[in-house]
């Protein structure tokens, strides 16, 4: 329904004069209204949103891989149930976001193919490996913590379906961070070896987590127009600062140290001064040269290819059922 209607509205738009439409569109956004699938929207807005929401959805799906890696090796049955529930949530979050992106006239298969071909990206963080159980704690605490920081403001984003997906996701996300912190707490208060593992996981995940907010505002290419359109609410640096300010006291509580010599409270700005991550590394990881890029895409490709017969079988089954029902009706009519 959306696809057809959207096409019609857009053609009308070009005839009616794009400049006026764009001004009216911007006025609605400034007035804090939501844009819905059937509304006229600038083509660039639509494309930018498909890129953002697609990347977001891909991140949820690819994000299942580093954690799924530990489901069978969780230390207790309870931890295993919890991790399984979390990974299940991520699949659901991917689904909400793909469905929301589809309201913009792109198909799910298109998005999947663009992920597999490397044309679309996913969050750089998931190209780092999870080497031991402490990493599962660090991922929940830091990675989900950073994701929440990013997602909470997006609940107020201008595109209705995206905003509603974010509201649902944020509601479910809080348990993810808490279970991670809970693992870290257990380990930080455990044996010396467990403590060491917790510290090591923090050391390895700290800077990659800071990278999750994207490049520094000085270098971010998509920011200005996206903020005007309210598909981005805060700048990358703002969110990174908030994340550091929230996380440092949590690390202190755990008795772990953040791996940054320059970390210091700055009374004047009311926040911490901290070292920037290595942006060279970030761009390398984005380009495909991170420790796990190939492995992640390969896993997705394998799942897609190996699942093809199953998707086909479900379609064949549905067709057969429909045919049987159809035949049944025909027979009754005769």
């Amino acid at each position: 329904m959306y696809g057809q209607e959207l096409g019609a509205t857009q053609r009308d738009g070009i005839e009616a004069g794009t400049e006026e439409l764009e001004a009216a569109f911007q006025a609605r956004i400034d007035n804090n209204e939501r844009i819905e699938p059937k509304d006229w929207m600038p083509e660039h807005y639509r494309k930018t949103l498909i890129r953002m929401m697609g990347q977001h959805a891909h991140s949820e799906i690819v994000g299942q891989l580093p954690e799924g890696n530990w489901i069978t090796r969780a230390p207790t049955l309870e931890r295993k149930q919890i991790l399984l529930a979390k990974v299940q949530d991520e699949a659901g979050h991917g689904l909400y976001l793909y469905s929301a992106a589809e309201t913009l006239g792109v198909t799910r298969d298109d998005l999947t193919e663009q992920l597999l071909s490397g044309k679309m990206k996913y969050s750089s963080i998931f190209n780092y490996p999870t080497l031991n159980w402490a990493d599962i704690g660090a991922v929940g605490w830091l990675v989900d913590g950073a994701a929440i920081m990013n997602q909470v403001p997006l609940q107020r984003t201008s595109y209705g379906p995206y905003s509603r997906a974010m509201i649902r996701i944020c509601k479910e996300e809080s348990f993810h961070q808490r279970q991670g912190f809970d693992i870290m707490r257990k380990m930080a208060n455990g044996t010396p070896e467990q403590r060491e593992m917790a510290q090591d996981a923090l050391n390895r995940f700290w800077y990659p987590s800071l990278m999750m907010f994207g490049p520094s505002d000085k270098e971010s290419v998509h920011s200005d127009q996206s903020m005007k359109w309210r598909i981005k609410i805060n700048t990358n640096d703002e969110l990174r600062q908030k994340f550091v300010d929230q996380t440092v006291p949590q690390a202190e509580f755990l008795g772990l140290s953040v791996p940054d010599d320059k970390l210091a409270w700055n009374e004047e700005k009311g926040g911490y001064d901290f070292s920037e991550p290595d942006w060279n590394e970030f761009f390398q990881v984005i380009k495909g040269n991170g420790p796990c890029n190939e492995e992640r895409i390969e896993a997705r490709r394998k799942a897609w290819d190996d699942g093809a017969w199953f998707r086909d079988a479900l379609t064949a089954h549905a067709e057969k059922q429909a045919q049987r029902r159809g035949e049944g009706v025909l027979q009754a009519a005769e």
Binding site: E33, I82, G160, F175, F181, D182, Q246, Q250, F253
Partner: protein
Amino acid sequence: MSKDWPLWEIFIRGQHGLNHRHVGSLHAPDAEMAMNHARDVYTRRKEGVSIWVVKSVDITASSPSEKGPLFDPAESKTYRHPTFYDIPDEVGHM
């Protein structure tokens, strides 16, 4: 010759940004007239900014007798809720 009109389920978006919510149903011969009727019946006091009409026969609903098997398994999975985890006050909001 009279013919029974199909039943339509009506969904209204109350305000910008919210989901459409089911408000009721009505009979109409086609989608366009269902839309007109929905507008007249369900938005006389400006209750909405958008309407969806869906043929009732196109909705597949779970049966009340399936309630147990469908939803009870979630009951024991309390670890899906943030309150399952004890976060000390001094850690702050999480």
